[in-house]
Symmetry: C2
Subunit: 170 residues, 2 copies
């Protein structure tokens, strides 16, 4: 499927000059949504994935169905203060400012094979933070699956040792 025909591009969102890739038009199309989840899951079907990790919030909408399809568990990565249990906190720098993410410390067991799934790979900052958190908990990051990859931002180069699968490239 040519997923680009299902993804809406919205100019100047959230700020002037950005051409925002809107996946909601893909998600709301039952056939395209089904196919996208099947394609991401199929790419990692032979990897014995125990856990799919998805960052808040669009990562939930893609990661949870991929976890379901792979018969794996789903673990959310959230903004600070959202997870009620004991959390591992990870702070990382953005171009302007910083961001903080949290994961439950008991969400991943040592040795579990983990797939990261998100809507978008841009600079790779969120995926890198997510991978670091998984590894700190003893999990083994197997790969990264995303709907969209902004190839000109070269986020892929941060992860030379993971398999990265994207369904639409810009």
């Amino acid at each position: 499927m040519d997923y680009k025909t299902k993804i809406r591009v919205i100019p100047d969102f959230p700020t002037p000059g950005i051409r925002f890739k809107d996946i909601t038009t893909l998600l709301q199309d039952g056939e395209a949504f089904q196919q996208s989840i099947d394609d991401l899951a199929a790419a990692f079907a032979n990897e014995n994935i125990d856990i799919v990790v998805g960052p808040e919030a669009r990562g939930f909408a893609v990661g949870a169905p991929v976890a379901y399809k792979l018969r794996a568990g789903f673990v959310p990565i959230r903004k600070p203060g959202k997870l009620p249990g004991d959390v591992l906190r990870y702070e990382y720098s953005l171009e302007y400012g910083k961001d903080v993410l949290e994961i439950h410390r008991d969400a991943i067991l040592p040795g579990q094979r983990v797939l990261i799934v998100d809507d978008l790979l841009a600079t790779g900052g969120t995926a890198h933070a997510t991978a670091k958190m998984i590894e700190q908990l003893g999990g083994e990051v197997v790969g990264l699956g995303v709907l969209i990859e902004l190839t000109y931002l070269k986020g892929r180069e941060i992860f030379p040792h993971y398999r990265i699968v994207s369904l639409a490239q810009y």
Copy 2:
């Protein structure tokens, strides 16, 4: 499955006196997660659901896989400013203050059959707002599926004309 054995109760979160029902322990258990999605989907499998709507953010983690299983589209309901397209905005009162939710105006077509899925039914405020938005867009709300129902808050009584399915009751 006795889902209560999979849901962790965390006292005094987010505020003292609240016994928070933490679904992350259910989601991260691959077998329990699989079964919960299958059970919610099975309850509405004969309803010809076109669209599953899930409110941000935990509603994405439950609603998206239910949509996948039902071969329906998934439509997110988000906090203000998150959706990039033309939105319908809905403001509603809480016990203290108010809340605002948004949905893309083109997310639901008139006559589409819509299932609302969320993690939790408490007072029913979010589900009620969600149903109103769907109906304003011309969709037909078929029912509500949740992992957890806080029966003592009687949220169910707001929706006497919808079918409501919950997997764990407190």
